[in-house]
């Protein structure tokens, strides 16, 4: 098997696992964990294409992955802050019970 194909398949599997977690879990923190897994799968794709692409010295895929990691860190911080804030208001992290937009 082509090495790149193997990495792409692993990334697709990780993405599907993260998506399944984000779609099926009730705890908002677990939904965020699923989103993080999906972002990581995308990063693995970027790095794999950088490694086996025609011009690795151009560093395009590497830069995409590094900026993607930074944006994912910002997203995790804001998302978990939101979860803590909602928990303080509604005393729940169950997304099925988060059905009001008023505080």
């Amino acid at each position: 098997m082509n090495p790149l194909t193997g990495y792409l398949l692993v990334a697709a599997l990780l993405f599907a696992i993260g998506l399944a977690g984000a779609l099926t879990r009730r705890n908002a923190i677990l939904v965020l964990i699923g989103i993080e897994l999906m972002l990581n799968a995308a990063n693995l794709n970027l790095i794999a294409f950088w490694r086996y692409g025609p011009h690795p010295e151009a560093l395009t895929g590497m830069m995409f992955a590094i900026f993607s990691i930074a944006v994912a860190a910002a997203e995790a911080a804001v998302g978990l802050g939101l979860v803590i804030s909602i928990h303080r208001h509604a005393h729940t992290t169950d997304i099925d019970q988060m059905n009001r937009m008023k505080g």
Partner: protein, 170 residues
């Protein structure tokens, strides 16, 4: 494909599966850390040393700790013991399986068109951390500044969102 790749891929996939399947949220966070570590090792296997160590620092060092903090701060609302899944987990599972099937089909169909289709081990890219630093300070300096601004905004926003709002509660 080297056996190391299979071991690391199995570690990452097993960690990810445990992270979304386990009932105890603290166990989920630990499994998530294992998945992040497996991905970092996959990055190292791909000769992306900088990305691998950034993955360890940012994800295992920061994001996993944030997740554990959030879990422990919201601990008193422990999910009911009957189920940890939403109303219709089957629909979510079917959607995820369908997306994986489409992605895997696309990857396998386009295998011949991928770079280095001859399965020859590509030459290790001669990219050092100095090259990455030069690129970040040269060609990619504007995105770097924008990311710095975004991180500052996210830091302030996260603090404001999570801050106490009631009088006297600060």
């Amino acid at each position: 494909m080297s056996p190391i790749f299979y071991i690391l891929a199995a570690l990452s996939v097993a960690g990810a599966l445990a992270a979304v399947l386990l009932k105890n949220t603290v166990h989920c966070a630990l499994a998530l850390t294992a998945a992040f570590a497996g991905l970092a090792l996959l990055f190292l296997e791909l000769d992306a040393q900088f990305a691998g160590f950034v993955q360890i620092l940012v994800y295992i060092g920061a994001v996993a700790i944030l997740v554990v903090f959030a879990i422990l701060l919201t601990r008193d609302s422990e999910t009911p013991k009957d189920t940890v899944y939403g109303h219709n987990p089957i629909i979510g599972l079917v959607a995820a399986a369908g997306i994986f099937a489409v992605l895997a089909w696309a990857v396998l169909q386009s295998a011949a068109a991928l770079p280095h289709a001859a399965a020859s081990p590509a030459a290790v890219p001669a990219v050092t951390v100095m090259d990455i630093g030069n690129a970040l300070m040269g060609r990619y300096v504007l995105p770097l500044e924008i990311v710095a601004l975004l991180l500052t905004a996210a830091l302030i926003g996260a603090v404001i969102v999570a801050m106490h709002e009631k009088e006297g509660a600060r």
